[in-house]
Amino acid sequence: MKRILSSEITSESNYRNRRQFIRDAGLAIGGGALASALPLVAAAEGRDLATVPGPHSTDETPNSWTDVTTYNNFYEFGTGKEDPYRNAGDFVTAPWSVKISGECDKPGTHALEDIMAPHTLEDRVYRHRCVEAWSMVVPWVGFPLGDLLKRFAPNSNAKFVRFKTLYDPKQMPGQRRAILDWPYVEGLTIAEAMHPLTLMVVGVFGKELPNQNGAPLRLVVPWKYGFKGIKSIVEIEFTRRQPRTSWELSAPHEYGFYANVNPEVDHPRWSQARERRIGAGLFASKQPTLMFNGYADEVAELYAGLDLRKNY
């Protein structure tokens, strides 16, 4: 018998309306006492975004708003999965600007509005696979990173793209301890960055990105482990040499530059052959992990001839 997921029965909007009702009822009855006892009610939601359906979306059922917004790895706000949800509420994302530098003809610093202005926002439902062997399906809102990068006219020396997260220990309590070498740095080859699947994300579920998901601007590379998807980006640099990324620096034998999802190459401490789908329920078994997270048809050619065991 096929198991029926609650998310298949309850639409996202119904789900959220119901939660809102519970919260309002709680406020009415208990003067807020009950509402504050509901620790994982959906996070405050941002504005609706004007979007069009994008290509490459999976048919799989997206996770719930609660799953997507309360189970996050965003160490700038704490190492617990719920820490970003709890600690990122007051994070200020406006005004926001992004510095473009390095091997390009049009470097400069741009306000987020200018970064976004020429692009059409697309809804793209992607599988998301964490290096910790869990996964979700997330309805992102964004535009192809390649379209953005072309605006700055990268030159022929631009072989890699390096991204940097905001460094602000006052706002980001996780940065007050040297767990990683702050600020967080990630990188892609220029071919990966220009690939049509690679997304600059500004929203989820048709709404502005909640802070805990990397507001206001983050990267999503669906065939790579989630930690490649750097959040709250303030710098994009075109480089000649392969950037040294945060996780690679902290544990080079465990986390590589490529970090492509690969069921055949285990993490030194755990298997990557299977994954736990968040929201599938207590008794659901793990599911097999797919090569390149199921995007092999689109991206395998990027790595032709590369030893994926060495270049993990």
């Binding site: 620790p39 799953d67 160490y75 999965k81 736990r276 929201g279 793990k286």
Partner: protein
């Protein structure tokens, strides 16, 4: 302490030891807005593991506490605390084996053999079994002096358990380091008492 008072206190301690289990049950059932979060299986494994570790530390704290306070009746709680440690560690393993791996013996065996942190944790669990089995009064009598020798296994078990936790953590080792500090104190105290203090009798 009178026998009656001791019995009452034992019941109280027993109930307190069940609180972590009760809280997990409420969260599992979603009572009063409590929840295990988006990944309940991982949360159950982690919480049972942490409480297994906590009870191991509490059990190992009984003897130093007894020496420091002179309250010898504390020893009467050690067996119960040790058995709770075994209970939470066993639940930790069962949730991993059952809910996480679906009792797939080949996968579990592969984990035990190939993942060093699981090898270490599994060894600690195996070593705990003879201690739990020989925890009855009858076994104590039957084994005599060998009983004490056997139960010294709790020291390597505690070391393995903390090691297992340290190795499992992805990056932030603060929490396991706290356990290393606690265990170092608990074992260091014993060493100091046996070798350093007794060498200089006052």
């Amino acid at each position: 302490m009178t026998a009656g008072a001791l019995r009452t206190l034992k019941v109280c301690v027993f109930l307190v030891c069940l609180v972590p289990l009760g809280k997990l049950a409420l969260e599992l059932l979603g009572v009063a807005g409590l929840s295990l979060g988006a990944n309940p299986v991982e949360e159950l494994i982690h919480r049972f593991g942490i409480w297994g570790l906590n009870f191991l530390m509490i059990t190992l704290a009984v003897t130093p506490l007894r020496f420091m306070t002179g309250k010898n009746w504390l020893i009467r709680f050690r067996r119960m605390l040790g058995l709770f440690a075994f209970f939470y560690v066993l639940m930790h393993f069962l949730v991993y084996a059952g809910l996480d791996q679906g009792f797939d013996l080949s996968v579990i065996l592969e984990d035990v053999v190939e993942r060093p942190y699981i090898t270490v944790g599994f060894t600690a669990l195996l070593l705990l079994i003879p201690l739990a089995v020989t925890s009855t009064n009858r076994m104590m009598k039957r084994l005599g002096r060998r009983w004490q020798k056997l139960h010294r296994l709790v020291y390597p078990i505690a070391v393995l358990a903390v090691w297992h936790f340290y190795w499992q953590v992805k990056l932030d080792t603060l929490e396991p380091i706290v356990y290393i500090a606690i265990l170092s104190f608990l074992l260091g105290y014993r060493f100091w008492r046996k070798y350093v203090r007794s060498a200089h009798p006052r």
